[in-house]
Symmetry: C2
Subunit: 321 residues, 2 copies
């Protein structure tokens, strides 16, 4: 790659970085090493008559700065990391979409970064293949919100659809927000890339591919959506039930649970309405702890499946074996 | 009772009849006999670490008229009833609130008619006592919507609170609609009683007793609300989960399932937005059939607990043993 191409790519990536968690790999950053990617990059769980597959898209290593937790001194953040034997220099942020396999349906929840990823991510399609599925097998895609790591994988650089046979279900409130030209015009510069990203993916999506649903309602038989506005204006969770067993997808209710489930009052820099996000984080964590539901989170440590149990002022994440 | 008092009471009841399903007992109606009330009037189900108690408030017998199913010829309605060995002269409509017993919590879902009931209803408090609980034991009340049979029991004729120790959780959209004076002024006469009823119950409810929640969000730990607008503007369902087991309260998603689950496209006269109600009825019935969740419905035949299974163009209700 020529230096000019590299710089252009770097600039493009920087424009995405607020919403895609792309780390500072293209910038002058201290060498923090490379995150370990899960191998194999998928994990299966049986839930009633469904199989849920966690399919890792990769991991981004992000230097820990003052800005990452908005409302806590960095010393407290580092102490929390150290208490869990984690590095205090960086945060490893995994990206994990889930696939619900049920009868002939293959329902993908969020997409990963697709062809718009740093070198340690964009692995979803390869890991999906390792799990025995091809993109053409996906029948439905459910989107929690429009940050780039959740939608970029819907569409390739050449404009073609990654999942050509899938309908794409999006929360009405989220779609309306990001597709609103007036809101884009009024947005701070750092957020404009996310508006452009939503347009790249959705602006000319055919009407028979796009399904806009009302958050809080049923999306598909057996699959509920849950209002969790705050992280973004229309941030929405999903809950799949089969034969009385439950899988709750928590999307970005927390970023890494080591910080934000342990201390639900902490706000990650990406929470657009920190107060609303905090309220729904407390509500939902209490709910899934009470129900003992199997939960999955987009930024949870792989296998990204587990349960939430009360711990101190917040919740621990107990991964399944 | 003097004749004048009786007439006054009759007129007051008639004003409530649209929303409370009070039958024509105060009017000149053919003698259709009296519905059989369940005895005992309660039934228990274990769901994870919770116990759910269905507590019957009574049954109203309603002569079957052309208006009951808005969009079907009465011949088809009668054929559907006859096919299930039910009378074609009347509909028996039960009223069944549920109590979730979980640790020290006693969470009541909807209230029944309280002291504003025809002779064959208003039995909730007596049946609650038969199940071993007093009104003062109730710690929380969840309200699905503001039709009188769901809220009247919150408050006695003398203005006192039936459940003095309970907070009352109401859907924001529903509360805003019925408490809006402009909407009351613009409402057709037949609906004004329901607006007045909402005011009787809620107008001076103390702020520390009333909790307004956003439909689609978590209401209490382990208890979700589900957007099901249509039957009323803010009609909301509840789903309680414990140890991976699920109880879904379907409120007025259907009136009697013998008609409206068997044929989800039929609209009961009480559905305020028939098209929206039909859409969410189809969605939710498909969801609870797929999940095989234990469901409860306010107007389901006692014990009001059961499961939905596909049948013909709709769903059968299979009561639990």
């Amino acid at each position: 790659m020529h230096r000019r191409q590299f710089l252009a790519t770097g600039a493009a990536m920087a424009a995405w970085s607020v919403t895609t968690f792309v780390p500072s790999w293209a910038q002058n950053a201290p060498n923090l090493g490379t995150p370990t990617l899960p191998d194999p990059g998928f994990a299966r769980q049986k839930v009633g008559d469904m199989e849920i597959i966690a399919v890792n898209d990769g991991v981004a290593r992000r230097p820990l700065g003052e800005e990452f937790v908005r409302n806590a001194p960095i010393g407290e953040v580092k102490a929390m990391l150290a208490s869990q034997n984690l590095s205090t220099d960086y945060i490893d942020i995994p990206f994990t979409p889930f696939v619900v396999v049920r009868g002939s349906e293959r329902i993908l929840i969020d997409t990963g970064l697709g062809e718009f990823a740093p070198p340690t991510a964009g692995k979803f399609v390869a890991n999906l293949a390792a799990a025995g599925l091809q993109p053409g097998d996906i029948t439905q895609v459910l989107i929690s919100h429009y940050h780039g790591d959740h939608i970029n994988g819907l569409r390739k650089r050449d404009g073609s659809w990654t999942f050509p046979n899938a309908k794409v279900h999006v929360p009405s409130v989220e779609h309306a927000y990001w597709m609103d030209d007036a809101k884009m015009a009024a947005a701070p510069e750092g957020l404009k890339g996310a508006f452009q990203g939503a347009r790249r993916v959705f602006a000319d999506m055919p009407a028979d591919k796009l399904v806009v649903f009302e958050p809080g309602r049923t999306v598909l038989p057996g699959i509920a959506s849950i209002v969790a506005f705050g992280h973004t204006p229309g941030h929405t969770l999903f809950e799949a039930t089969s034969a009385g067993q439950v899988f709750t997808y928590l999307a970005d209710l927390t970023n890494v649970p080591t910080l934000f489930a342990r201390n639900p009052d902490w706000a990650v820099q990406f929470d657009m309405d920190a107060e609303a996000a905090r309220k729904v984080r407390r509500e939902m964590l209490a709910r899934v702890a009470a129900s003992n539901a199997l939960v999955g989170g987009f930024h949870f440590p792989f296998p990204a499946f587990g349960r939430k149990t009360p711990a101190g002022n917040g919740y621990a994440f107990e991964p399944v074996a």
